[in-house]
């Protein structure tokens, strides 16, 4: 099975006596409240999704990630995982000490073993990670709104937060056992933040032709206005897989994480995380992890040239459409017919039809999937 990124699958989840001890001392520790996105980051570090990270980045690693898209030891890493606090709060935390990280509901999440505190330039962070400082970009808006000091150090998770989607939540350790149990030597990951249409199914099944299994891995968490709600995505994929995929060839589990919309950098980030889940390949399509028109449509494919040591193999797909003449999904390499014969897989078009209560044409979306989506009164994030 493919090695975890960095060679070791991180596990920093406290259990038994160690957990009891942590809860015991938690009452005496200075505390810091985390937003749900940072809680997800902590859980992902603790369960190995973010291997080799064991905690929030220190300054040396942070600067290397910004400038080189690698950790200080040269391992590929493209999206900074950091914890920001205001200066007043930072003054209350001492390097060498421990901080209790709690959720917005005051639930103990983890112990942060604080190693350092440092300041950073937000505009530089935004420019280097997102390629822009335009505050209309959701990732830039978040970074520019971050607090001024970053805390770094290893974390020890006290407890995973329960979610409505726990039935679909598997750790990298669990997916690796699952893939082994299914006898899959090669596994292709499909990253998504949308309900499936026929084009997605075409891409997945094409990739599945060359691998033993497919791991459909929707990102669950904070997304932008107009994106489908998490429960809608999961219900629609469950219906698609049940009706149109072989059980022995397809599985779905969620990745609980905030979308950064960092385009090329995030494509590499996504590839690393799926490598940690045990995937040997990952599908990278047009404008992967992009938003608006900030990134060239295929920049998220070209960036893989800079990482010959990534370990997981990208499978690149061009833009596709449905050709009425070919009577199938096609792309620019497989279809000789003019665009007048093509129906585009427009998310906006599909969405508009669904909102009006109209089942879109079967060339665009499976009717079973459409019906599932239409069962939700408000399927989109407001």
């Amino acid at each position: 099975m493919i090695q975890p990124h960095g060679g070791k699958l991180i596990e920093r989840v406290l259990t038994g006596a160690k957990k009891d001890k942590a809860l015991g001392k938690a009452k005496r520790l200075p505390r810091l409240k985390l937003d749900p996105e940072s809680v997800s980051d902590v859980e992902n570090m603790a369960t190995g999704v973010y291997s080799p990270l064991e905690g929030f980045l220190g300054e040396k690693d942070f600067r290397n990630v910004l400038n080189q898209m690698r950790l200080a030891d040269d391992l590929p890493w493209t999206v900074p995982i950091v914890l920001d606090v205001d200066k007043a709060a930072a003054d209350g935390f001492k390097p060498g000490g421990e901080v209790l990280l709690v959720s917005e509901e005051d639930r103990p999440v983890a112990i942060l073993n604080l190693e350092e505190k440092y300041t950073y330039d937000k505009a530089e962070f935004a420019q280097k990670v997102f390629g822009t400082t335009d505050r209309a970009h959701p990732g830039v808006a978040k970074v520019m709104g971050m607090k001024d000091v970053l805390l770094a150090g290893k974390i020890d998770l006290i407890e995973l937060a329960p979610t409505p989607f726990d039935r679909w939540k598997l750790s990298p350790r669990e997916t690796r056992v699952l893939f082994k149990e299914k006898g899959w030597k090669t596994v292709v990951a499909f990253q998504t933040r949308n309900t499936p249409h026929i084009g997605h199914e075409y891409v997945q099944k094409t990739a599945l032709t060359f691998t033993d299994g497919i791991f459909v891995n929707p990102v669950i968490g904070k997304k932008k206005k107009g994106d489908f709600k998490d429960e809608v995505i999961l219900a629609s994929y469950e219906e698609l897989i049940r009706n149109y995929y072989l059980k022995e060839r397809a599985v779905m589990a969620i990745l609980q994480m905030e979308m950064r919309y960092a385009g090329p950098r995030e494509a590499i980030h996504h590839a690393i995380l799926r490598k940690n889940f045990g995937c040997t390949h990952i599908i990278i399509g047009r404008d992967h992890a992009g938003v608006g028109t900030y990134y060239h449509p295929y920049a998220a494919q070209e960036i893989f040239d800079e990482f010959p040591d990534l370990g997981i193999v990208p499978l690149f797909f061009r833009a596709f459409s449905f050709c009425k003449k070919c009577n199938s999904v096609v792309n620019e390499k497989t279809c000789p017919h003019p665009s007048s014969e093509h129906i585009q897989f427009s998310g906006t078009k599909i969405r508009d039809l669904l909102v009006q209560g109209i089942i879109p044409p079967a060339e665009l979306i499976r009717p079973e999937v459409a019906k599932i989506i239409m069962q939700f009164k408000e399927p989109f994030n407001e």
């Binding site: 975890p4 290397n64 350790r173 056992v177 299914k182 010959p308 370990g311």
Partner: protein
């Protein structure tokens, strides 16, 4: 890493690389390779997007090192059995 043939290498490319190093927030060290190999690499990268012999060597070495990692299981037999129970309960396996 800067790659030089014995004797220092092409002065223009070396100067460009030194300027690039100074402007980048990164540590470099120097490695020597035979002149003949340096020349061979220079010829091979002409017309490609690889900008220098150093860049070529860095790329190849990173690729080679990543392949040398030995594959081994990340879970024990005991962990595996425990996980299988959860997977069965969730319906992932029979």
């Amino acid at each position: 890493m800067r790659v030089l043939p014995p004797g220092g290498g092409d002065s223009k490319n070396s100067e460009n690389e030194r300027i690039k190093e100074k402007t980048m927030d990164k540590e470099f060290t120097t490695v020597s390779i035979p002149t003949s190999l340096h020349k061979k690499i220079e010829e091979a990268i002409q017309g490609t997007e690889i900008g220098s012999v150093s860049a070529y060597v860095v790329k190849v070495v990173r690729e080679s090192l990543s392949k040398e990692q030995e594959a081994k299981e990340v879970f024990s037999k005991e962990e595996e059995e425990k996980v299988k129970e959860r997977l069965k309960a969730l319906g992932y396996i029979d």
